[in-house]
Subunit: 132 residues, 2 copies
């Protein structure tokens, strides 16, 4: 899978899975909404999807270990149609309002309910892609 | 989400995402096919989905750190229909043929092309579920 194709597939994906590492060294993975911004993937803590708290495990994890991985993939019962794209990088947490604007551009669901943040920005250091 | 519902959703999912931790402490995540076997999720290295090698990063990771997490989720543009289930546990690698039988029962795609293995078995130590 070439870089342009990986970029297009990551950009168009509606959901990704964010993997981080807990302070105790165990893995953590959650589905999440994000937007590709240049060579970074950005997301924001939102209140549009029911949560009991905005203090999320992923924020604790990044505070202890900034390494993060984001996966987008397509499953199909025809196994000649499978693909995935994964980016690895380092995450920082901020209140970047431009990132929230980009999320609202991508997701109409956020337009009536602007995510309060914080914002997690992962600067991509490597791209991997696969298709069957 | 109650335990019975989590179990049903995990059992029925056709694809999960397996998160592990690399020897250098960075996260790793891949989509994968699996079957729920009691209180474990099992998978096998296969050759039914084009790979350049059967020596996979996930096996190296588990060798260094057995902690693993498996996520299944449903995305929908109607954000009142979202859900995910995540199980955490410890992984072991074996040549368990019974696990491969179970994978063939679940996935017709494996019936003509039995996975050679090895088998990764994750004994579940915790269940988490969420729905919007």
């Amino acid at each position: 899978v070439g870089k342009d194709e990986m970029r297009a597939r990551l950009s168009e994906a509606r959901v990704g899975r964010l993997a981080t590492v807990r302070a105790d060294g165990r893995p953590h993975v959650v589905p999440y909404c994000f937007v590709l911004d240049g060579d970074a993937v950005v997301t924001a803590v939102d209140d549009a999807k029911a949560k009991t708290t905005l203090h999320l495990q992923r924020l604790d994890n990044i505070g202890a270990n900034s390494a993060a991985s984001v996966l987008v993939d397509h499953y199909d019962e025809d196994w000649s149609q499978l693909w995935w794209v994964r980016v690895d990088g380092d995450a920082t947490v901020s209140g970047d309002q431009h990132a929230i604007d980009l999320l609202q551009d991508k997701y109409p669901q956020y337009r009536d309910r602007r995510p309060p943040g914080p914002v997690i920005r992962i600067e991509i250091t490597s791209w991997r892609g696969w298709k069957s």
